[in-house]
Amino acid sequence: MLASTSPVLWYATRATGTVAMVLLTATVILGILTTTRAATSAVPRFAISDLHRRIALLSVVFLGLHILTAVIDTYVPIGWAAAVVPFTSTYRPFWIGLGAIAFDLLLAVIATSLLRQRISVRAFRGVHWLVYASWPVAMIHGIGTGTDLRFGWMQILVAACIVSVLAALAWRIRAHPYPGGHRTAVPPSGVPATGHAAVGRPATATSVAARPEVRRVSRAEPRETRS
């Protein structure tokens, strides 16, 4: 059983934890950007999506190192089980427990991501939503038990992570007021597909701000053969 103690492990845990936090934050933001179909001329949409996947992978690596170094380090008693079973750690059970929760949720996301081509879209997307629980819990874990939070630069970093995710969410909700799903889509330029209303007679305009729900022309003579 791997066990030792050394300041290197301690610093490694803190460092990899910080990097994982930043990378996970970036992953979440890129995921949100993918949904908004945002793109620049230099970074097309498939690249945003691809970047999201690559940075997710990178963050998992750093997260793995963070957990590994924390468990191996005997200076602080955190066992292997404590990494996945919440609140079973001897050391700061609550805050470490939150980390375990965040990790568990992420494990589900990782599993479905690896199996994405084999499982249904609904299963994949359903589980993927867990990141909206995992990321905040991970952030709280970091704030609660992060050793470096006493430093100003760390406080700024954490604040920046939180603010940027909130900003991305706000933009996504504002620009796309209806939920994603198989019945909606965004025209590529964000401009409504049609603009003008019908001139003259009763035919009403389509409103494309929401899903194109077309109101019916109600010159209806009730159908004669219907009850």
């Binding site: 198989h182 019945r183 889509a185 025209p187 597909a193 049609t194 003008h196 019908a198 001139v199 003259g200 007679r201 035919a203 009403t204 305009a205 389509t206 494309v208 899903r211 194109p212 729900e213 077309v214 109101r215 019916r216 022309v217 109600s218 010159r219 209806a220 003579e221 009730p222 159908r223 004669e224 053969t225 219907r226 009850s227």
Partner: protein, 433 residues
């Protein structure tokens, strides 16, 4: 509101109905057509003969697609699992009233057809699908089913069900989807088997009129059936005639009858500016072509389709472009909302048409509309957008002169005429289940 004009030899489905309010109960039905004698449950010989008779008759589906009925039956029969039979009496087409008519006047003819199909397939059940809101039709079928049970007719179990009254709800896969407990939304079935499934069982989905024809063929034989109509399109068909006619209603005509004669049966007064054939996803027949025989081949030669039996006569002072704009608007609202090209494309086309009919358009707007139609066509999961594309293209062609007028002088006077089309009011809440 119905007329029952037909030449004597072509009163077949409408046999026994002398008054529009008539309804044939089981006794009345048997008085006209004799009683239905179903063979034993596993009589393979009968089944083969039955299918051969259908094949020889050349009956094609009366629900709009015109697929050979015997071939469809064969496909289902070739499956291993016990199938179900689905009677499609949904009649989502607003301009059509024939299925409702059959349901409320001669339900037993439809049920006979369903029973025959079920027996030949050894089907486990028959689902009779009537649109929600059509209470009279549903009650009529239910009463007929009860009558048959009381009379001790040993047939596959019938059940009357009522899916939502949406235009696309009558599409085969949408119907199967709903019967399976889902929503009445069409499925994307590119190269899956040609038939839908209900609870894993292959489903034979046939239009109510098709089944009524089957009941007649089983009694009177394929040769009798082919006695009227054309070589490629034998038999009769029900047509709902409306618009600029004195006596709108449902007529039974032999296929191949000139369109003008059919309109005459409904009391057309003057040559129409155009005739809408096949419903809101069908085609416009130009006024000049009203002498065309009403069968797929002849209509195909002038760029039209029969589709489901519908004819709406456009009055001479009407505007085909305005009517098409209204149809496009309504059809856009009836989209299942699953596929982008339909959800976004149809309202755009409707906007283009509205502008064309009521505003000012230029030639390049027409070119753009034509390109849009080409883009939308075939890119949905079902045929709904294709129908609109076909309709609009046929309107541009059939009303070419009117189009020219609109381009150069703006809306014609007909654009502000009262519409001759009916658009069922649908509630604000869209229900699919």
């Amino acid at each position: 509101m119905t007329t029952l004009e037909a030449s004597p030899v072509t009163i077949r489905l409408l046999s026994g109905i002398t008054d529009p309010a008539d309804r044939l109960d089981l006794n009345g039905h048997e008085a006209v057509h004799g009683s239905l004698r179903l063979p034993g449950r596993r009589d393979a010989g009968w089944s083969n003969r039955f299918i051969a008779a259908l094949d020889e008759s050349g009956l094609t589906g009366r629900g709009g697609a015109g697929f050979p009925t015997a071939q469809k039956l064969q496909t289902i029969r070739a499956q291993r699992r016990r199938p179900v039979v689905v009677v499609n009496a949904m009649e989502g087409e607003p301009a059509s009233g024939k299925d409702h008519f059959l349901a409320t006047r001669v339900p037993h003819l439809v049920l006979d057809g369903a029973a025959l199909m079920a027996r030949s397939l050894d089907a486990s059940a028959v689902q009779i699908c009537v649109a929600r809101g059509s209470r009279v039709a549903a009650r009529s079928f239910a009463a007929a089913v009860a009558e048959r049970a009381r009379a001790g007719m040993r047939e596959a179990p019938f059940e009357v069900v009522q899916p939502p009254a949406r235009y696309v709800a009558g599409e085969e896969s949408a119907l199967a989807n709903w019967l399976d407990g889902g929503e009445s939304l069409p499925l994307f079935r590119p190269d899956r088997p040609a038939f839908p499934r209900v609870s894993g069982r292959p489903a034979l989905v046939d239009n109510a009129e098709t089944l009524a024809q089957v009941a007649l063929i089983a009694r009177y034989g394929p040769e009798w059936f082919r006695g009227v109509g054309t070589q490629e399109a034998p038999g009769t068909t029900l047509v709902t005639v409306s618009g600029a006619v004195r006596a709108p209603g449902i007529v039974e005509v032999a296929l191949g009858t000139p369109v003008w004669s059919v309109l005459a049966m409904a009391g057309v007064v003057e040559r129409p500016a155009g005739v809408l054939l096949g419903g809101y996803g069908g085609t416009w027949l130009a006024g000049a072509d009203v002498a065309t025989p009403y069968d797929p081949a002849s209509l195909g030669a002038v760029g039209c389709t029969t589709g489901v039996g519908v004819m709406v006569a456009l009055p001479t002072d009407g505007c085909g472009l305005a009517e098409t704009a209204r149809i496009a608007r309504w059809m856009a609202g009836e989209s299942a909302g699953q596929c982008g090209p339909c959800v976004f494309g149809l309202p755009t086309v409707a906007d283009d048409l509205s502008l064309l009919a009521y505003g000012r358009t230029r030639r390049r707007d027409i070119d753009r509309l034509w390109a849009r139609l080409g883009t939308i066509d075939g890119r949905g999961a079902c045929r709904h957008p294709d129908g609109v594309v076909r309709l609009v293209k046929s309107a541009i062609s059939a009303f070419a002169a009117d189009l020219d007028h609109h381009l150069h002088h703006g809306p014609c006077r007909g654009a502000n005429q009262q519409s001759v089309l009916a658009f069922p009011p649908v509630g604000e809440v869209v229900e699919w289940r």
